[in-house]
């Protein structure tokens, strides 16, 4: 009689289900991303059980590439990924080391290799997250030290798959170019995950959560105004999804504070201090003119 194993129970007790649930709850939208993470978690779970039951198993490669427009949550998800992989026993320690080109590439000959290696060593047992990875490769300068960092990365990604997970992130079009010129990277990364843009409803939901975290809230009319804001803002240049929303909310809080100070008799209640009203949102320059507001200090 063959040994049996309750997969679902193992899934529940390992704490993985819990992480996936928080991921679902706390991250709005991103359905394809969550789907992929769920699949990865399932695969790792099955591999683990196969190992326990003495079946042939091979540790899957988990290097990942996150592509998507600005503000679609790539960094946020990478942060969660480290915790998830740790719970799944895929990485031993579960720390996230977040780097950009500056941290990897040196300033003179012979400076790059030790710098890259040091960071790789720090990331061992965890996740190395390389934000805006395409900056590593500068095709217009053939003596650029970025190439050296890439070679070391590739070597470690290949030889020490069990020791760390590398996640590259960046905007889709530039990452595509990056992979074209570095085919080694493309083939060593098994998981290419594309982060879709948020819908208007999702952005509104995100806005409410962001406000809630700062203990503010929309009045019903302000909420409608925010909906209009998102619709208008999307059509304007330099739209960066959730990041634009965060910036908009920062400016809204400025107007909210200013309104409280300038109008009325100066007597405020906690209610007033935490409720964003319609004019706070409506007075944004996004409504009055077509231009970008991102570059101006106060809209």
């Amino acid at each position: 009689m063959a040994a049996t194993f309750n997969l679902r129970e193992a899934f529940q007790t390992s704490g993985v289900a819990e992480i996936l649930d928080t991921l679902d709850r706390e991250l709005i939208g991103l359905a394809p991303v969550k789907q992929r993470i769920r699949e990865t978690a399932a695969l790792l779970m099955v591999e683990r059980v196969r190992k326990d039951l003495g079946l042939a198993h091979e540790t899957p490669t988990l290097h990942m590439s996150f592509t998507g427009n600005p503000g679609t949550g790539k960094t946020t998800v990478a942060n969660r990924m480290a915790g998830l992989l740790h719970k799944l026993n895929y990485v031993r320690k579960g720390q996230l080391v977040s780097v950009t080109r500056d941290d990897l590439v040196g300033q003179y000959i012979g400076h790059t290799a030790p710098k890259t290696k040091e960071l790789l060593k720090k990331a061992m047992g965890g996740v190395l997250f390389i934000d805006e990875a395409y900056y590593l490769y500068k095709p217009d300068n053939e003596r650029d030290y970025g190439q050296e960092a890439i070679e070391i990365l590739l070597q470690v990604m290949e030889n020490q798959r069990d020791d760390l997970v590398v996640i590259l992130a960046g905007y889709a079009d530039r990452m595509a170019k990056f992979y074209e010129s570095n085919p080694g990277f493309r083939s060593r990364i098994a998981h290419h995950i594309d982060f879709p843009d948020y819908t208007d409803a999702e952005l509104l939901h995100i806005a409410e959560i962001m406000l809630d975290q700062q203990s503010y809230r929309f009045s019903p009319k302000a909420r409608d105004a925010m909906g209009d804001y998102i619709k208008t803002r999307r059509t304007q240049p330099h739209f960066a999804n959730a990041r634009s929303i965060r910036n908009a909310l920062d400016r809204t809080r400025l107007r909210h504070a200013n309104r409280l100070l300038e109008t009325g008799d100066g007597i405020v209640t906690p209610e007033m201090l935490s409720t964003v009203e319609e004019p706070d949102v409506r007075n944004s320059r996004v409504f009055s003119q077509g231009g970008s507001v991102e570059k101006q200090t106060i809209a």
Partner: protein
Amino acid sequence: MRITQGCFSFLPDLNDEQIAAQIEYCLGKNWAIGVEYTRDPHPRNTYWNMWGNPMFDLKDAAGVMMEIRDCRKANPENYIRINAFDSTRGWETVRMSFIASRPKVEPTIEMTRLETGGRNIQYTHVTRY
């Protein structure tokens, strides 16, 4: 002649798995790990060559093992030792040190006596390869 210095040197040589486990112990105590190598294990040769900088803020032994492997490849037939440095105020010293690699044939250390005035004896130790 088998050189005995540092921890574990009277035990059979540690294998890589055991070395990694010892390093995990050191990292767990927040000690910084340094890799050093030499051809000359003379007891008075305190300062061995450093293989790169000491490694601070590591989380996992895999990084150190990578350096040890590289060091072995570049310096075969050398002694390689691991130093674990404790930076806690009041300690600020190497807390643990052990040999991670030895040459296949170890040199001998020869002692010569020299009688000087007043029947004093001076001792000299020389490493013979």
